[in-house]
């Protein structure tokens, strides 16, 4: 009567620390350039090496420019951080996919697409969106830099076991409604702290029906409900996605692995600390209006009024709306848009580009809209070209950039200017997230494309 979360977690417990957390063994540590340098410094100060260097994969993604990667990075501070990762990986004997390497990209896009993230694994990275890897049926979660150092030093982490929650979404998603809308809908219902303290298993027929790309998007956003991570039990869709990937088992090993992975499911009588069920038919294309991802509404809806908000949250609500330049009760449809961003570990995969292109095809980018289309990895970009999506998008006035985290958090040159509105497929709409003063509206690739071709907030369903 165990949950899948219990099974994977418990199988990785090295020991329970008296009066404290579990010592959890980690199968895969991913490192990017932003949250790792101080961890490497820590190892040097202690005079130690990585215990299991073969389990650690490094790649820069946050600072990388999305054009001109063949030249040195212009920003000296970004360059220093990216160079530091390469030097640290070399010093400690770690696998490193540097900028312009055909395997480089956003670490949460590359991990699954190379088969580095596999069912039943424990996976960590100094990045809250590590939850993405849960889509393959792994227990994956974000950690701080001290914890990165812990894993480097001991291949283990000390961690309190979170509670378990199952979110079932039953039924069929409507036309033009995507995994991103599903996630934004969940956040709007649960708030950004509704799943704090929990690890979430997503289940139900609407989740089962999602492609791997959709599942990666859904699991990516688990942290935005406060959950430490979210995952989906592996099934034939998972196995078909992983088979043949570079690091996936091959031949006889593959068959053995699949047989074992098929056991990775919650028992029928498993008891979850919390269980919630939603009807997929209730979900519409979603859009955020505020400065946290839980502040979302159906695209055809209205902003809440003060009457809808509890008194203790009035100050935060009003601050948020003032920042966004909206008023309580406003409608978002028809509001002008300045920027559109397609990409990030949330929506930078091939299916996201197909969705965007399906609306852009035969139309033109609206004059005055700046659009950044940033693949999540070089592999995604190559696939865009193989499928001819680049031609469709170029004919519509869009260009495909080079991969990286880009305008999701604007650590590279892709910054939305103060006061400008950006419909973004990324994961966070916090104040200043896309550049100081930037105003972010989170949405799906379809909704982003609808804004890009019309120049204002548009229900994508009218363009399908």
């Amino acid at each position: 009567m165990n949950t899948l979360f219990d099974k994977i977690w418990d199988a990785h417990v090295v020991q329970h620390v008296e009066g404290g957390p579990d010592q959890l063994y980690i199968d895969r540590l991913y490192c990017h350039e932003v949250t790792s340098p101080q961890a490497f410094d820590g190892l040097r100060e202690r005079g130690i090496r990585c215990l299991r260097p073969e389990k650690i994969i490094c790649m820069p993604d946050h600072n990388t420019p999305t054009e001109g990667q063949e030249k040195p990075i212009e920003d000296p501070v970004s360059k220093k951080q990216v160079d530091a990762l390469a030097a640290n990986a070399a010093e400690f004997g770690l696998t490193h996919y540097g900028m312009m390497d055909p395997d480089n990209g956003i670490i949460h896009v590359v991990g699954p697409e190379k088969g580095l993230s596999l069912p039943g694994m424990t996976i960590v990275c100094g990045d809250s969106h590590t939850s993405t890897h849960g889509a393959v049926g792994a227990v994956a979660f974000g950690i701080g830099t001290s914890e990165v150092e812990m894993v480097m030093a001991s291949q283990c982490i000390l961690q309190q076991k979170p509670k378990s929650m199952r979110i079932r979404i039953e039924g069929t998603l409507g036309r033009g409604v995507t995994a991103k809308d599903m996630a934004l809908f969940l956040m709007s219902k649960l708030t950004t702290s509704g799943a704090t303290g929990y690890f979430v298993e997503y289940a139900g027929s609407a989740v089962r029906a999602l492609s791997m790309e959709g599942r990666l998007t859904l699991c990516n956003l688990s942290i935005e409900m406060g959950a430490r991570g979210g995952f989906i039990a592996p099934d034939d869709i998972t196995f078909a996605y992983l088979q043949g990937r570079d690091y996936a088992p091959k031949g006889e090993d593959w068959d053995k692995a699949v047989a074992a992975w098929k056991q990775l499911r919650s028992d029928d009588d498993a008891i979850f600390d919390r269980e919630i069920v939603f009807d997929a038919a209730e979900i519409a294309p979603m859009l955020t209006y505020g400065t946290n991802p839980g502040m979302g509404i159906a695209i055809t809806g209205y902003l809440p009024t003060l009457d809808d908000i509890p008194a203790e949250a009035h100050a935060s609500f009003c601050k948020s709306l003032k920042y966004m330049g909206f008023r309580p009760g406003d409608m978002l449809l028809g509001k002008p848009v300045d920027y559109v961003f397609l990409g990030a570990c949330t929506n930078g995969r091939i299916e996201d580009f197909r969705a965007f292109a399906s609306i852009a095809a035969g139309r033109q980018k609206a004059p005055g809209v700046v659009a950044w289309l940033v693949p999540g990895s070089w592999k995604v970009r190559r696939q865009i070209e193989e499928e001819g999506l680049d031609k469709i998008l170029e004919a519509a006035g869009f260009e495909i950039r080079q991969p990286g985290c880009s305008a999701c958090l604007a650590m590279n040159p892709d910054k939305v200017p103060a006061g400008k509105y950006c419909v973004s497929t990324s994961n966070r709409n916090f104040e200043g997230r896309q550049g100081p003063g930037s105003r972010t509206l989170l949405a799906s690739p379809l909704t982003a494309a609808a804004a890009a071709v019309t120049g204002f907030i548009t229900d994508p369903r009218v363009l399908l």
Binding site: Q23, Q38, G126, S128, G142, M150, A153, T196, L409, F430
Partner: protein, 196 residues
Amino acid sequence: MKQKFDIIESTCVPLPLENVDTDQIIPARFLKATTRDESFFGDNLFRDWRFLPDGAPDPDFVLNDPRYGGEILVAGRNFGSGSSREHAAWAIAGYGFKVVISSFFADIHKNNELNNFVLPVVVTPDFLEELFASIEADPATKVRVDVPNQTVTNLATGRSQSFELNAYKKYCLMNALDDIDYLLLQKDKIEAYEKR
């Protein structure tokens, strides 16, 4: 910074906003540093709320209000949500806070605070509300955080509550030990696990 925790008694800085995310605690553009210089991060704590676009301190933000100061930050519910950046904990420590009191913390940030010898103290919503009211009525209000006894006391009203801290972490905080010190001693168990 590793330091031994015992009893802390201090005035507080109130931040009665909910869902304060780590992007606000330290914006992404300050994450490019490759060293753990806490004073650098502390100087940029709440950067975009603390300073106007022209770089002048925003007189309306609490850190620039001379009435408030101390080693304890008191924040609204769901403090530290969003990004896992430990730089947020470095900024809080670097500014000089030793304790953060709230009714609810985001998971990753809470761990990051503990790993940097900043103590997150969870209190009930009404304790928090009363504490905000005490500080508003008198910015000289002090709070006493007693780590050995795991109690937090609003010295203006005398109201006291116990707070949660597991025995392992309490031992670490009171003896200035971190998790890596502990894990490095567990090599036999790790190797035994790998052979299972």
